[in-house]
């Protein structure tokens, strides 16, 4: 908790640090890191109910396109809200149809949804199709640090939502749903409602992150906004950092994006090979993620035969 606040404090004062000629580059990287981290935190919100979603990239893309299309008319903040709203509304549709599915079946359904959405955006006329969609910068580009603070705001909002859910009664229902759905129901947990609320929060934040991304990238293409890579990143970060926590995805997102950027600068060819190796080693040797390293818990349960 304290570490979370320290990190958020650093995020706020980061632009004031004397970074010299590296400033523009680091602020740029930081914005992408904040967006990826916010998306990872949003994915974790649903993962806490035991549902593994591969649609986080789709909600991100829907938010990006909805915000990108409406920014010119509505202005920055309302357009971002539209993006979050479109993503949340589509999660209700998807959720009503699929949240009764479990495990791998839900994951496949969300993957199919992502493909459908990407194809629709690719074929629809008003989205610019395969040519892409130019997007106006945040606040008309008039405020140099506007994009930075927008990304920081989405990150902070995601962190606060994650903390709030983690300390609310919903956290008990989520964990119970994840660890034993039938038992949870017999205890009175309305598991479908719990999953739907988690899905709604998760997709709204993903849509918001997508909108901020659109205004930072200034150009959207279906291949980029809806790429499977984004959905994978959204789940790799929490796994690397520590699932079902706030600190885990926060720390994991900032570190992984920094690591990836650094590797790309150092090793032009094949930096992803090294990045992938590091991830594999991390998952092998840190089964509970970064957070597990400094929050050791009692050793895992010995499997005893039960009567």
């Amino acid at each position: 908790m304290r570490l979370v606040l320290v990190i958020l404090g650093l995020v706020l004062i980061f632009p004031a640090l004397p970074l010299g000629r590296w400033q523009a580059f680091t602020l740029d990287t930081a914005q992408f890191a904040f967006i990826a981290t916010a998306l990872a935190l949003s994915w974790d919100l649903l993962a806490r109910t035991g549902q593994l979603s591969l649609a986080q990239g789709a909600f991100f893309g829907l938010g990006a396109y909805a915000a990108g299309l409406s920014a010119g008319v509505l202005g920055t903040i309302p357009a971002l809200l539209v993006g979050a709203g479109v993503a949340a509304a589509s999660s209700l549709l998807l959720g009503a149809a699929t949240l009764r599915l479990q495990g791998i079946y839900f994951a496949i359904a969300t993957l199919a949804f992502s493909e459908v959405v990407r194809t629709l955006v690719l074929k629809a006329g008003f989205t610019g199709g395969a040519t892409g969609l130019p997007v106006a910068p945040a606040f008309g580009g008039g405020w140099a640090l506007g994009g930075y603070y927008l990304a920081a705001a989405v990150l902070i909002l995601s962190v606060l939502t994650s903390l709030w859910v983690g300390h609310s009664r919903l956290s008990y229902a989520q964990a119970a749903t994840r660890q034993g759905e039938a038992t949870a129901r017999v205890l009175g947990v309305p598991v479908v409602r719990v999953k739907l609320v988690s899905f709604l929060l998760s997709s709204a934040l993903a849509g918001l992150a997508g909108g901020v991304y659109a205004m930072k990238a200034l150009f959207l293409s279906p291949y980029d906004a809806f790429g499977l890579g984004r959905a994978v990143e959204a789940l790799v970060i929490p796994i690397f950092g520590g699932l079902y926590t706030t600190l885990g995805p926060l720390l994991g997102g900032l570190l992984l994006v920094a690591l990836e950027t650094w590797l790309r600068l150092e090793i032009q060819d094949g930096y992803l090979v090294i990045y992938g190796l590091i991830l594999i080693l991390a998952i092998l040797f840190m089964p509970r993620g970064l957070v597990g390293l400094f929050r050791p818990r009692a050793k895992p349960a010995q499997e005893e035969p039960r009567a």
Partner: protein, 238 residues
């Protein structure tokens, strides 16, 4: 308070429960016994809503719950402890109980739930293990947690599925005392049990199932003398 009328459930060709009618009175401890495969656990699943009945009617406190979801039945006051313990393994004992306390009775505030949990921890003898991960308990503690979590939902009727199985006689005696004190606090109990001493010690009334049907009903002494019951337990022609 609980009334079943002609409740049936078929799995494929197997008629697991056939036309079962029974009633639990307020303040009563009712035992459901029967040989293995008689349909006892299926019956509990039908009452708690994990299975839905093919036909018949289930009423609780005057309301028709035949097709209600498990969580709705929990909210109305049905609590259930499983035969095969189902702790939420990544939570502590206290957190396990919090799930039941928070969600078992609609409108329970977090503060009220905490109070319920502390009371149940004391009652069930788990106070010393409150912070312990639920995935790492002994069998006895597992059984206590299973019962305690059902109690934390503040049920009006508690459904117990062989909660004594695997316990040593002294431990079973403790559990018998615990179930009695639960009843004395105003909770009715419907339990399934294989251990006849436990049934004799606890049950006000006994219902005997065989091949999914009620073959006898009454006080323990009456039922134990019933020839049909003896036949069911000892085998045909014994």
């Amino acid at each position: 308070m609980l009334r079943l009328r002609g409740v049936s459930k078929t799995f494929g060709g197997l008629r697991a429960v056939q036309g079962v009618s029974l009633e639990v009175q307020p303040g009563e401890i009712l035992a459901v016994i029967g040989p293995n495969g008689a349909g006892k656990s299926t019956l509990l699943n039908l009452i708690s809503g994990l299975l839905s009945a093919d036909s018949g009617r289930i009423e609780f406190l005057g309301q028709d719950l035949t097709h209600a979801a498990p969580e709705v039945r929990a909210w109305r006051g049905l609590g259930r402890a499983f035969q095969i313990v189902q702790p939420f393994p990544e939570m502590s004992v206290r957190e396990n109980l919090m799930v039941g306390a928070l969600y078992g009775t609609p409108g329970t505030s977090v503060q009220a739930a905490r109070k319920v949990v502390e009371r149940v921890l004391e009652l069930s003898g788990l106070a010393g293990k409150a912070q312990h991960p639920a995935g790492e308990l002994s069998l006895l503690e597992d059984k206590r947690l299973e019962l305690a979590r059902a109690l934390a939902t503040q049920p009006k009727l508690l459904l117990l599925d062989e909660v004594m199985a695997g316990l040593r006689p002294a431990e079973a005696q403790d559990a018998v005392r615990l179930v009695r004190s639960i009843r004395d606090s105003g909770v009715s109990v419907l339990f399934i049990e294989h251990l006849m001493p436990v049934v004799r010690a606890l049950a006000d009334r006994v219902v005997v199932l065989d091949y999914g049907q009620v073959i006898a009903e009454g006080r323990y002494a009456e039922v134990a003398e019933n020839p049909k019951v003896r036949e069911a337990y000892l085998g045909r022609g014994a």
